[in-house]
Amino acid sequence: MVEVHLWSGLRSLTGGHHVVEVEAKTTGELLVALVQAHPQLQAPIDAGVSIAINGRVIATGLTEPIPEGSEIYLMQRLRGG
């Protein structure tokens, strides 16, 4: 199991939780598991998210491995100029 930290704006979609525990070995599995746990998270995920694994921001990849015990943050998709 990994703990996924959400940004506080998402708490209204998860019944007030800002940490969601899911079973996932990759970034792709993590997103699927998040929606299974809280279906309303589909909207922000569709709008674009990045996943920070131990501080490194994974922008798009669904195959990045998630080591056991990693620190995981869901973040809004980053844009640049």
Partner: protein
């Protein structure tokens, strides 16, 4: 991505050779967007709304159609039928609405029709013959007014999931993040300062207006030449808007005359293609400067409230910010980025940030260099400066005391990897500039700044020639000397001379997908891709050498441009240079190339610290920047001169944003300063030399340690200059730009 092979001793990287495209650019032969023509070419021109908000009742183009030189006219009806086309939603829909107005014109300058004629003059003449009947609607151009209950609604239903109930429909996205308990933190503080700040919209100000040449047949096959930061996004967007298949449109990026984020989307490109399809001839469209200002993306304007609590020893006990960003008539203002970046330089136990994306009757905002970050830094770093002044603390010491470092929980959530903020602050403290005496009337300001940096989808292909030279194809337009950096990195891996590598920005038919040149990603991501592609080629070179020597491939390694036996047991062979292997590659297995196609993850965040001295003339309110020093972590500077150039360019743009530049709208909702005379960007006589210090704290996410450098440099200037000006004038400046009338007004208010 595993980074097993970090490198720290370099032969080519870190040197300063001449750029490969230098000759073309100093002789006038480099081809920019408007420098191309085609046989049978027509010239296009775009008719734009004079109203800030109006329903388009009727467009009568019959007189223009009757003009002998006019060959095609397009309106919204000539683009893909949006509601029924799957995939054409979200941002594509917004871009289509922006490229050609549908039911309503949403801002002064919004495109409503376009013509193609046999000459540019004839096309402009023909525009005057198109009659548009408008029903003028109430408009709003100010972010705070756009959020009030009686503000006109720009578009119903544009808000996404994130917006709390009860907000005005013009509020389309909402972001909230942070950690700890800010109220407890404020209670713990010895001094709390809360203040409000405003920044105006500024334009990227690239000197080259948008320009393109499009050809599209009724067989759905097309060609597009355009000035862009990303020709794959242009390809994908144009194809969607015109209802053709992406792969049938080949897009070639011209040399690009500046972008800074503003050329990451399309404006006239789909229009040129639609005109071409109708006329069955190539169509060139070039914007005027006024069109660039009125209709292409400026940055967002911002209205912000920041509250910070500090202990007597300088420790920040709590920080909170609300950032309202106006992004024009479409969703997309980076309020979320502003919020996430605002407090990122600091190690905070209690922090909360809220960002709003608000629509108004202004042009669709586009990214501008670290989009969203400079405004937040302006507000936050101004309050920190005020706290330092009131508590009698040194501003660099206070920032050092609170600085984020490896292991700090970032204000936006995760824990930082190795970062270089502390190193930039220590360099600032040690820099002679920081200790230099100030003259009467001068003030000094410092600020830190943060930007995320980006990786992005990247394809690179490297092919070796028989004579041992290499051609490298990248997909990221060279906007500031990146060909030189790419060649240096390829030379480093291959071990051949920099001059023997030709770097080409490939077109969309020649290479796989590439994300835009944005997010400070080129040297990081295309660089990483170049290194990987070159290593891929080296693997094959080693295989050929092994076959020639008759030893296993794992007994061969690559050193200084040669295959060599990996150890004494591998066999006794002289080093085999690259050119010896490529010379007969046709008969030893065929062409040798290397590739990389992936999304590099691990761009590595970046920090900078700026020191500014400013002098304010109390009679006129004019500010002069008398000394400027940029200190920034580049991870590893591949070509240090171009890294310095990015630092200096970011500072100069920040000076313009802080002191002069602003979009000025009249009561009628029309932009009042759409030429360079009235929208004044810094000129040579406005600026001092800009000193630079390159700090190198390697990014663990790149084989050579690179961090992007393009954007971070514009984050600190607004605040650093505002702090310098405030300290010089003796009054806190809370609104940008700090133009002479605003400074005089502030001095007067202060008595």
């Amino acid at each position: 991505m595993a980074l097993d092979d970090r490198k720290s001793d370099f032969t080519f990287v870190g040197t300063r050779p001449n750029r490969p495209d230098g000759l073309d650019k100093v002789t006038g032969r480099a081809k920019f967007g408007a420098d191309i023509s085609a046989p049978g070419m027509l010239h296009g021109a775009v008719l734009r709304s004079p109203h800030a908000h109006a329903r388009i009742v009727k467009i009568d183009a019959s007189k223009a159609e009757a003009h002998k030189d006019v060959k095609a006219i397009v309106t919204r009806a000539d683009f893909a039928d949006v509601p029924f086309r799957p995939g054409l939603e979200g941002e594509f829909y917004n871009v289509l609405e922006n490229v050609m107005a549908g039911e309503k014109a949403l801002y002064d300058g919004h495109a409503v029709a376009a013509v193609a004629a046999t000459s540019a003059l004839a096309a402009r003449d023909a525009l005057k013959l198109i009659e548009v009947e408008y029903e003028v609607l109430p408009h709003v151009t100010d972010v705070d007014k756009a959020m009030t209950p009686d503000a006109p609604v720009i578009r119903e239903g544009a808000a996404d999931y994130s917006v709390p109930e009860g907000m005005h429909p013009n509020v389309v996205r909402y972001h909230e993040s942070g950690h700890g308990d800010v109220e407890a933190g404020f209670a713990d503080a010895d001094l709390v300062i809360e203040d409000s700040f405003v920044t105006e919209a500024t334009h990227q100000g690239y000197i080259e207006p948008h320009a393109c040449l499009g050809m599209l047949g009724n067989d759905g096959k097309g060609e597009l030449w355009c000035t862009t930061q990303g020709h794959w996004i242009a390809q994908k967007t144009c194809a969607a808007l015109l209802g053709i298949e992406t792969s049938q449109l080949r897009v070639t990026a011209s040399e690009i005359g500046g972008g800074f984020g503003g050329k990451t989307t399309v404006f006239i490109e789909p229009v040129a293609l639609a005109l071409s399809r109708k006329a069955n001839r190539p169509v060139k469209v070039v914007m005027t400067r006024s069109e660039v200002f009125r209709a292409t993306g400026p940055t967002s304007s911002a209205s912000m409230d920041v509250k910070i609590g500090m202990k007597k020893d300088g420790t920040i006990s709590a920080a909170q910010g609300v950032f309202r960003l106006q992004g024009g008539a479409f969703p997309g203002a980076p309020g979320d980025m502003t919020a996430m970046c605002a407090f990122a330089p600091y190690n905070l136990n209690n922090v909360k940030q809220i960002g709003y994306d608000v629509m108004s009757n202004r042009p669709k905002q586009a990214a501008y260099r670290a989009p969203g970050a400079p405004m937040g830094a302006f507000a936050v770093e101004s309050v920190i400066d005020e706290l330092c002044n009131k508590l009698g603390l040194d501003p660099v010491d206070v920032r050092l005391k609170n600085a984020a470092h490896e292991g700090t929980k970032a204000s936006y959530g995760p824990t930082y990897e190795r970062i270089g903020l502390v190193e930039t602050l220590e360099a600032a403290k040690a820099h002679p500039h920081y200790a230099a005496p100030l003259k009467p009337g001068q003030g000094r300001g410092i600020s830190c700044g943060f930007w995320f940096n980006h990786g992005g989808e990247t394809s690179v292909s490297l092919a070796l020639s028989e004579d041992g030279s290499a051609q490298l194809m990248v997909g990221t337009p060279d906007i500031g000397g990146s060909r030189a950096s790419m060649a240096l990195m390829a030379a480093e891996v291959l071990g051949i001379a920099y001059e023997n590598i030709r770097v080409t920005v490939a077109d969309t038919a020649t290479l796989g997908y590439n994300d835009v040149s944005h997010g400070s990603r080129v040297t990081y991501a295309s660089g990483l891709a170049t290194i990987k592609a070159a290593k891929h080629a080296v693997e094959k070179l080693c295989e050929r050498a092994a076959a020639k020597w008759g030893i296993p491939v794992d007994a061969v390694k690559w050193e200084n441009g040669c295959a060599v036996p990996s150890g004494p047991n591998a066999g006794d062979f002289d080093p085999m240079p690259l050119a010896d292997i490529t010379a007969d590659m046709g008969s030893t297995g065929g062409p040798i190339s290397g590739h990389f196609e992936a999304t590099p993850e691990g761009a590595g965040v970046s920090f900078g610290t700026h020191i500014v001295d400013a002098e304010v003339d109390p009679e006129t309110g004019k500010t002069s920047v008398t000394r400027y020093t940029v200190i920034q972590d580049a991870g590893k500077a591949i070509h240090p001169t171009y890294v310095e150039g990015q630092f200096q360019g970011g500072a100069a743009q920040g000076i313009g944003w802080a002191l002069n530049e602003e979009y000025v709208y009249g009561e009628d909702g029309r932009l009042q300063n759409s030429i360079f005379l009235d929208y004044r960007i810094p000129v040579a006589s406005d600026l001092p030399m800009i000193d630079t210090v390159i700090v190198e704290v390697p990014n663990p996410g790149h084989p050579f340690g690179v961090r992007g450098v393009g954007e971070t440099g514009i984050v600190p200037p607004l605040a650093a200059i505002a702090n310098a000006v405030s300290n010089a004038a003796g009054v806190r400046m809370k609104q940008l730009p700090m133009s002479p009338p605003r400074i005089l007004a502030a001095l007067k208010d202060n008595g």
